[in-house]
């Protein structure tokens, strides 16, 4: 029996159908009638969705929006991989111009519309209030505004595609971005708007976690997913204004010809890089910290075990957030910044590896002494450890100054960031999505198909991106439309690894499409599930699947930590 049920007597003494009971039946009677409809059916009509203040509906809308953009960005990626099957020009894109636009849009869409928002806005919005035992976030209307800004920003970026497109690379380096004829201003406006969506979500989450925890839920009892969201929110609030201002300055330069970054007008192009990376490096921690949070949930619940090193994981999230602001120059070792700057940034970059390593070791340590289920969320979680370890370790090559000179701006970098961003964030997202799908939809997906999807994604991902490490270390630069101009022996080598990578991308794509298929199918035909299919202890498992509109039938109280499985199991055996 759950702790909550023991604490709060119900009005008629009967076991309330809303609240979960670990495996116990309701003494032979029919389950009590659901008193309230779920959040999905509570209000009807399009307007009730588009103007909702229910964090769960907002989370679902974000999920649909973000995954739609993910598919668009993914299609650009497939086009790029197809082009690179042969060294010469013209395999998919007739000219370099088309190719340049494709990789730019792939990067911009994936970075700003997918990887940054996916876990906080979709899963975070849905589960933060549930996990702290609240009815909603602190500022529900602000939450809706965040979502509308996301849609507006996304629409602006889509408009950019049709209004001249963008060919600067997602990094908008000057002076190329000040002189190119493509729709730079429209794109930067889109990013500017999206930035506000991110900032407002961050503000909302910080206040919610501070002020709306259920009675008895101390900071050291909140699920680690929330520590992760908290650290992420701090970065979102502090760093995002910088990219907004930077892109605004870029626009001002384009429109008014004021020389800030353009040397032809007396500006400094390396200054742009400092400003840009001051945000964009912390941004990658906005991407990965929530992913780390998901993994903490997965490894505990699915091995029914306490987390190893709760404090270490919580504090490492905060320290990563702080140090993340101090390492931006590692993107600029060969750009012309001073040697002293290079030295300091390299040192700090290695420093940030330590709390990250601590987390990975702690998750593996969590498995020890557990009771592990190899279901889909866990398989994705294990894949995460495998893939993220490669991503993180390859970061060491890039933090080392002399080795970075060789590897910078080559495919080694492309491989590294896809390993951590796609391999890290996307895999963790898939884990969380499969873990919380039954809670969000009330349905279970086909476990068989899901495992196949996981295998295809794992194999496809590694094949696509591991090949790129070899490409990079052998000298293949990034953002290259063709590679037929190097010496013939090298053309052969590059062709081999490019083909290996492209073949992998086909496998990866098939896994993603399969996943989309069985998840959508499960919404209509999936088996209905109860409140706690995984036997979790955190508060979200105390609600219905899917939850009612205001989450809990009565105010929850917290009397234990989120991963006290050994106690729960002992009580069950008793």
């Amino acid at each position: 029996m759950s702790t909550i049920e023991k604490q709060i007597p119900t009005s008629n003494g009967a076991s309330v159908g809303d609240l979960p009971v670990h495996g116990a039946a309701t003494s032979g009677q029919r389950p009590a009638e659901r008193k309230e409809p779920s959040y999905l059916t509570a209000d009807k009509g399009l307007k009730s969705w588009l103007f909702t203040v229910d964090h769960k509906r907002i989370g679902i809308m974000y999920l649909v929006g973000v995954l739609s953009f993910f598919l668009v960005g993914g299609l650009f990626a497939l086009a790029i991989r197809f082009e690179l099957l042969w060294p010469e020009a013209g395999n998919f894109f007739e000219t370099a111009d088309g190719y340049n636009k494709a990789f730019t849009l792939h990067g911009a869409i994936m970075t700003f519309l997918f990887v940054i928002p996916i876990i906080p806005a979709a899963l975070g919005n849905f589960f933060l209030p549930l996990m702290i035992g609240a009815k909603d976030v602190a500022f529900p209307k602000l939450n809706l505004l965040s979502f509308h800004l996301y849609v507006l920003g996304g629409a602006t970026l889509v408009y950019t595609i049709f209004a001249g497109s963008l060919d600067t690379g997602w990094t908008f380096y000057t002076p190329y971005s000040t002189e190119t004829g493509t729709a730079v201003i429209s794109a930067t406006l889109g990013v500017f708007i999206l930035g506000f969506s991110s900032i407002l979500t961050g503000v909302n989450f910080i206040v919610t976690i501070h002020k709306m925890r259920a009675p008895g839920m101390t900071w050291m009892r909140i699920p680690l997913f929330l520590w992760a969201l908290y650290a992420t929110a701090i970065i979102q609030v502090l760093a995002t204004p910088v990219i907004g201002i930077t892109l605004m300055l870029l626009t001002v330069e384009r429109v008014f010809g004021i020389g800030i970054f353009d040397p032809a007008l007396g500006g400094d192009p390396v200054l742009y890089q400092h400003f840009f990376w001051f945000y964009s490096h912390p941004a990658v921690y906005i991407m990965i910290l929530p992913a780390f949070g998901v993994i903490s949930e997965i490894f505990t619940i699915h091995s029914r075990k306490r987390i190893f090193g709760y404090k270490a994981i919580a504090y490492s999230s905060l320290s990563i957030a702080v140090i993340s602001f101090l390492v931006w120059g590692h993107h600029m070792f060969v750009s012309g910044q001073s040697n002293l700057a290079g030295l300091i940034f390299s040192f700090l970059t290695f420093l940030v590896a330590i709390p990250t390593g601590v987390k990975v070791f702690s998750w593996v340590g969590t498995l020890y002494g557990g009771s592990i289920r190899l279901n889909t969320p866990m398989l994705y979680g294990l894949s995460f450890i495998f893939i993220f370890s490669i991503g993180g370790l390859t970061g060491l090559f890039l933090g080392a100054l002399s080795v970075d000179v060789q590897l910078h701006d080559t495919y080694f970098i492309v491989a590294h960031f896809h390993y951590v961003m796609m391999g890290g964030v996307f895999i963790a997202f898939m884990s969380g999505l499969h873990h919380w799908w039954p809670k969000m939809t009330g349905r279970m997906y086909s476990e068989f198909l899901a495992k196949i999807g996981c295998l295809l994604v794992f194999v496809g991902f590694n094949m696509t991106f591991f090949s790129q490490f070899m490409l990079g270390s052998q000298g293949m630069p990034r953002r290259y439309y063709t590679y037929d101009q190097v010496s013939p022996e090298l053309v052969e080598l590059f062709t081999f690894w490019h083909r290996s990578s492209s073949a992998g991308s086909a496998i990866l794509a098939s896994g993603i499409f399969l996943t989309l298929g069985y998840l959508v199918f499960s919404i209509f035909k999936g088996q209905a599930v109860g409140p706690n299919p995984w036997g979790g202890v955190s508060l979200e498992w105390e609600t219905d699947s899917p939850p009612i509109k205001h989450n809990f039938a009565h105010d929850p109280v917290c009397t234990r930590g989120p991963y006290d499985f050994d106690e729960v199991l002992a009580a069950e055996r008793a």
Binding site: A89, R306, Q485
Partner: protein, 334 residues
């Protein structure tokens, strides 16, 4: 040397895995004085990564197998919450290894940053989308590839005429961004004879993946002879000289020599001599000697319809003899 181990960057390291003379699985051949140290650090990090990866994934797999939920057996879960000694160890020990990597990388970096005093100085001008090299203090100007003597330091003083480019020679393990309105310096001492690719590694637009060059490393004797020839190939005149210049001056980066445009930003030149082309203004233009000369000197005066005015001028870089040779060559293209 310490025993038989090479002493590199102050640290004695067995050169076990870097295959010096030919391309290895991971890295190109080592063709400069700094390559061995960079590679040794690369492989130090590599083996460290393999060990840690094996530990992490190995432990993970072991625990999954050992602690897998067993059916028909009551479930138990350990109450372990942590282990302070272990946690400190796995923060401190990696920390020490990371500092070692940092120090080694930093030392290699300083070696890369400080050119030797006596070096051949070459001015590099990068522009969309070609390289132009001037050998300081000589009459060798405006060549698109460099020839240097082996075992001699070479210092490049680089600047861009437009956007940011980057000079990268994988075989030498050197790279540096080339920024407009400032000079950046890169140096190397080649240790092997041969031709080595130079690639632009900062995205610069449509010609980015064609902005390649070569460093040709020859013996000191060969280099001296090359210098006295003014950097030109031996005994080459007329159309053959034109063919050489067409490549050396970077024309080939943007103009195809057949009738097929090949995805390049500028008009193909095959079969064009003697024909008529329409300009952006609408008027028809005869493609003759004068038009070719004008296009090389003042390229944006008469642009062919369907193309953008992106060609840079070569005024001051091509003398009359070279102009003649180029026109002869272009006239011969089918």
């Amino acid at each position: 040397m310490i025993g038989n181990l090479p002493l590199v960057s102050g640290i004695a390291v067995p050169d076990l895995l870097a295959i010096a003379s030919k391309r290895g699985f991971w890295l190109p051949q080592q063709a400069s004085t700094v390559a061995a140290d960079t590679d040794n650090l690369f492989f130090f990090i590599y083996w460290l990564s393999i060990v840690f990866f094996a530990l992490i994934v190995g432990a993970m797999v072991l625990f999954v197998v050992k602690f897998r939920r067993k059916k028909n057996v009551p479930e138990t879960s350990s109450a372990i919450e942590g282990n302070t000694k272990l946690e400190v160890a796995w923060a401190v020990i990696p920390g020490i290894l990371l500092i070692a990597i940092f120090v080694w990388g930093f030392r290699g970096w300083i070696a890369l940053a400080v050119p030797p005093g006596e070096a051949i100085e070459i001015q590099v001008r990068a522009k969309k989308w070609l390289w132009s090299f001037d050998y300081r203090g000589t009459n060798i100007n405006g060549v698109d590839e460099i020839t240097v003597p082996v075992d001699t330091p070479v210092k490049l003083i680089m600047s861009s005429e437009d956007v940011i480019h980057s000079f990268f020679v994988p075989a030498f393990r050197v790279k540096k961004d080339i920024v407009p309105n400032r000079y950046s310096v890169l140096w190397f001492t080649p240790t092997k004879l041969g031709e080595f690719d130079v690639l632009c590694t900062e995205y610069c637009g449509n010609g980015h993946s064609r902005m390649l060059s070569k460093v040709t490393v020859v013996t000191r004797d060969e280099y001296d002879k090359w210098m006295t020839r003014g950097g030109l190939p031996e005994g080459v005149e007329g159309k053959a000289l034109g063919e050489y210049l067409f490549k050396a001056k970077g024309c080939k980066t943007c103009h195809s020599i057949t009738t097929d445009r090949m995805g390049l930003p500028c008009p193909p030149l095959g079969g064009k001599y003697g024909s008529q082309e329409q300009l952006v203004t609408g008027e028809m233009q005869q493609i003759d000697d004068n038009y070719i000369r004008e296009s090389i000197m003042k390229p944006n005066a008469k642009v062919v319809k369907g193309y953008a005015p992106v060609m840079p001028t070569f005024a001051g870089q091509i003398d009359d003899k070279q102009m003649d040779a180029l026109i002869q060559y272009i006239a011969s293209l089918k």
